[in-house]
């Protein structure tokens, strides 16, 4: 039973990063900001396409919920889409953190050879 729950809560590495970005941005979590937040904090270059395909997956799993936002002139009159994390998403994120901490327990990354 526990295994089944865990597999349901499985999060990919990029999904984890996107969920954390949404949490950090709070009320301001929409495409542009999520992409910039990831790029600024992880120094990995990210495309808006990969953000949206990931968000679509997360929404299908019920981890995030989206809602229509305001229209601005610099967006060419197009609306924003805000994302909000859901209970299942927070739970999945929590589980991922617990798993990672457990796996890191007893491992000293300092002495790993860099090859």
């Amino acid at each position: 039973m526990e295994n089944q729950t865990r597999s349901q809560l499985y999060l990919g590495e990029f999904e984890e990063i996107v969920l954390l970005a949404i949490l950090r941005l709070k009320q301001d979590a929409y495409g542009v900001r999520i992409r910039q937040e990831i790029e600024n904090e992880t120094s990995r270059s990210t495309s808006i396409g990969s953000i949206y395909t990931t968000l679509e997956r997360l929404e299908a799993k019920g981890y995030v919920k989206s809602q229509h936002g305001e229209v601005t002139p610099e967006r060419g009159g197009r609306a924003k889409r805000y994302f909000k994390i859901q209970g299942a998403g927070a739970e999945a994120l929590n589980q991922a953190m617990i798993d990672r901490t457990r796996m890191l327990d007893g491992v000293d990354l300092k002495w790993l050879p860099a090859w």
Binding site: G31, S47, I48, G49, S50, E56, E74, G76, R78
Partner: protein, 208 residues
């Protein structure tokens, strides 16, 4: 006591001021067109304005436009001239931000001499991403996604364009498109694979 008024010099200065303004606008339009990778033929196709007239707009030579001579004769509302410039500007993305300033020469100063051409155009910046990139995305996005994703790209493009210039923004934009196409294509393939799998199962069930 006699007062001499340098009327010709006054009119010349007005004329050269407006000529300079017109040329600047023409150059701005031309630069914007080139930055988007558009040729005059593209503009002709879209606006139905012929090449000579488009070139006249880019050179700031409004007199060559239909009704352009009206400007010389003091008809400040030369409709054709305004409409031609407006259509061209709209075609390359200066949508609703174009405004015409019609300045009539003060009659007391101009005396009975016909005023110099006085139509000048002021354009405010409105950065719009290249259409081709948008089109590429249209092929892979769902209808609902188009609004948000293209809107996001347009917002960042506008921000970058005003900070680093149009060329840098274009480079960033195309890089975003290319790197975005990969996950979008992968998604499309996954969907296609699922459909194929379902069709195969149906076929197997039928044959049994």
């Amino acid at each position: 006591m006699e007062i001499s008024v340098d009327l010709q010099g006054y009119l010349d200065s007005i004329e050269s001021y407006h000529k300079a303004a017109a040329a600047t606008v023409g150059r701005q339009l031309r630069e914007c067109r080139i930055a988007q990778g558009l040729t005059l033929n593209d503009i002709i196709g879209e606006t139905r304005i012929n090449r000579h007239h488009l070139e006249a707009i880019e050179q700031g030579n409004y007199i060559k436009l239909p009704g352009g001579k009206d400007l010389l004769e003091g008809y400040y509302t030369a409709i054709y001239v305004k409409n031609f410039i407006r259509s061209y500007a709209r075609c390359i993305g200066f949508a609703e931000t174009i405004s015409f300033e019609i300045r009539e020469v003060n009659e007391a100063h101009a005396l009975d001499v016909v005023a110099a051409p006085s139509t000048s155009v002021y354009i405010t910046k409105n950065h719009r991403p290249p259409k081709f990139g948008e089109y590429l995305l249209y092929l892979f996005l769902t209808k609902a996604e188009r609004v948000y994703l293209i809107g996001d790209l347009a917002e960042e493009y506008d921000e970058l364009s005003s900070r680093f210039g149009r060329q840098a923004a274009n480079l960033w934009y195309y890089r975003q498109i290319v790197t975005s196409l990969r996950p979008l294509m992968r998604r499309l393939l996954c969907r296609a694979r699922t459909v194929i799998l379902i069709l195969e199962i149906i076929q197997k069930l039928r044959s049994h």
